[in-house]
């Protein structure tokens, strides 16, 4: 088992989950409450990573981060090295790739919050921000946990995008799933199995926790 790759992957997953929460909460809020008619377009863009082959997504992210793109050039002028095939590129690629896994559970949870509670909060003098943090978010806890668990687990196990934008640099961009691929290529099945089992266990535990919590939430509010 390659602990370096494992720790790197955990670090990536934690970072990506944190970033996606910050980005995903306002996006999900906007998708749920905006009166704009064209918001379905944004919904489609957010959902794209669900259906696109990771290599396609990874390819375009690589182009966008490369030294010929404005983003790549800006990064180079800032840091002195290219963005592609770095840990930062891995974070950016993973954020884009896992975006629907954060936004969709959140938006689904927000839309089940009765609008009457939002209206009641406003009549009690609460700003939209206060209504969001005191009413909408607490009533969407199950969606929030689902979003965190899915985003974390999904980032832990991603392969295609990571390979495209990060390559396979030990300690920098080599994640567990790439490590497993390498082990299999080297016919080192025992080691591949060990790592794969760890990923399997993490995914199982994460999903079990989410489902267990969701049951508890239902039991708290029996009248609904």
């Amino acid at each position: 088992m390659d602990w370096q790759a494992f720790l790197l992957t955990v670090k990536l997953a934690v970072l990506v989950t944190a970033i996606l929460l910050v980005l995903g909460l306002p996006i999900a809020y906007w998708l749920t409450y905006s009166p704009r008619r064209w918001k379905f377009l944004i919904e489609a863009v957010v959902g794209m990573p669900l259906v696109l082959p990771p290599t396609v997504l990874g390819f375009y992210i690589l182009l966008a981060l490369g030294s010929k793109s404005p983003i790549g050039r800006w990064w180079e002028s800032l840091t002195g090295h290219t963005l592609a095939f770095t840990f930062e590129a891995l974070v950016i690629g993973s954020v884009i790739y896992s975006l629907p896994f954060t936004v969709q559970p959140l938006a689904a949870a927000f839309s089940t919050v009765d609008r009457k509670f939002v209206a009641a909060s406003a009549t009690l003098g609460a700003s939209r921000l206060r209504t969001f943090f005191r009413i909408i978010l607490p009533l969407s806890v199950s969606g929030l946990l689902t979003a965190i668990a899915l985003t974390f687990a999904h980032t832990m196990g991603e392969f295609g995008v990571v390979l495209m934008v990060g390559g396979n640099i030990p300690g920098v961009t080599r994640t567990v799933s790439i490590d497993i691929y390498d082990q299999v290529q080297a016919t080192n099945y025992a080691s591949a199995n060990q790592t794969a089992l760890v990923l399997l266990a993490i995914s199982f535990v994460a999903l079990s926790l989410v489902y267990a919590w969701n049951r508890k939430v239902w039991a708290i509010w029996p009248w609904r």
């Binding site: 009457k116 209206a119 406003a122 009549t123 009690l124 005191r134 009533l139």
Partner: protein
């Protein structure tokens, strides 16, 4: 104060005036809002009203636009046109581009389904609207309002753990604790038993005496109108059709729609035969019959077609022609049907037109009423109301 009849499409008799001009201490509003209810026909709310401090009852059938009107006042819906002013403060003015967000309107709103926050305790629910004041004062005011509404023992419970009446008290406490400048109550006591209801009504009246703000109270319960209201406004399909004291609006309705809402079972077409200015009465002949009724004098000329409304409970039944009685209308007829529902008998009596009469089982038995029996209907002049058809 006379009942003001507002003709469809015309100007209301009460000058609601410009923003803040009519009732500086109260609410003045003119709201126009077109709604496209899903699938059904378009609905247009067009209401001009002035509500001074005190309880104003908003009365109307379901679908009349009562909740839409409250939502517009609260800023939850944006009117297409009009203005809303509260104590001289402009909340909304389409022409001037003013639209204060709900959270800045300082109002209390008790929703029909209460909308207590399910994840917060009773105390946290009530305290929610006090975010802008200091912590100790928050606790003090929360405790005081829960105490005065007799809900202090519920403070640590969640809304899902208390009864319907208790939830209604808590919702009221949550709205009142912020000391709003306008209180909107959307059937807040619906579905409660009478003793619980009258206890909460007493609490609300007491609070109102101390605070004197405009309170709009939506109901379609006649009993609540008389128990609570100093004024009543009647809304029908988006239009304000009558306002006055509850007694004036509901007991002497000038509009057929109000008469139906207020429970006038008998509404007839009639023609004015003669007016008796000195007596304060006039004679009307019911359309298609020889039956004449003496009704209170109204400003209409003989020959004009009118509508007459009579409550089924205001009609007396006799099995022989009554003599020496003050009532001016004694009409012969025959019982068509008798139907019992709970402890009330509904009799249909044919007098040329069909009258509905309510009586008790005891009255039916002592008069030995049955279908086909010859009877006399006895109606007081003032039990007969002229209404304008809408």
């Amino acid at each position: 104060m006379a009942v003001e009849v507002v003709k469809r499409g015309g100007k209301p008799a009460t000058p609601a005036g410009g923003p803040g001009s009519a009732a500086p201490a109260g609410l003045s509003a003119h709201i126009q809002k077109r709604l496209r209810a899903n699938g059904s026909r378009e609905f247009m709310l067009d209401a001009q009203l002035a509500a001074p401090p005190g309880i104003t009852i908003l009365f109307g059938a379901s679908g009349a636009g009562k909740t839409t009107l409250l939502d517009c006042l609260a800023g939850l819906l944006e009117p297409d046109a009009g203005h809303i002013a509260l104590r001289g403060r402009v909340l909304f003015d389409k022409a001037a581009g003013v639209n204060l967000p709900t959270c800045k309107r300082s109002l209390g709103y008790v929703f029909q389904d209460l909308a207590l926050f399910p994840h917060l305790t009773v105390e946290a629910n009530v305290r929610y609207g006090l975010a802008k004041i200091r912590g100790e004062e928050q606790a003090g005011r929360t405790a005081a309002i829960l105490e005065s509404l007799r809900a202090a023992h519920l403070r640590a419970r969640y809304p899902g753990e208390i009864s319907g009446g208790e939830r209604q008290r808590v919702a009221l406490a949550r709205a009142l604790v912020t000391e709003p400048e306008l209180l909107l109550l959307d059937e807040p006591l619906g579905g409660l038993d009478a003793p619980t209801k009258s206890a909460i009504v007493d609490d609300l009246r007491a609070w109102n005496r101390a605070h004197q703000i405009p309170i709009l109270y939506v109901t379609h319960d006649r009993g609540e109108v008389f128990a609570l209201g100093e004024r009543a406004i009647v809304l029908e399909v988006g239009r304000l059709i009558a306002q006055g004291t509850p007694h004036e609006v509901l007991n002497a309705p000038r509009q057929e729609a109000v008469a139906q809402l207020a429970g006038f079972e008998n509404i007839f077409d009639a023609t004015v035969d003669a007016t008796h200015e000195a007596q304060g009465t006039m004679t009307c002949r019911l359309a298609g019959t020889a039956v004449t009724l003496e009704v209170p004098l109204s400003r209409v000329a003989p020959g004009v077609r009118v509508r007459v409304a009579v409550r089924a409970g205001d009609i007396l039944l006799a099995t022989s022609r009554p003599q020496d009685i003050s009532a001016r209308n004694i009409i012969p007829g025959a019982v068509l049907t008798l139907e019992q529902r709970d402890f009330m008998i509904t009799a249909q009596v044919d007098c040329g037109v069909r009258f509905e009469v309510h009586l008790t089982p005891g009255a039916r038995d002592s008069l030995q009423l049955r279908a086909g029996r010859e009877v006399w209907l006895v109606l007081k002049t003032h039990s007969c109301q002229l209404v304008a058809s809408t």
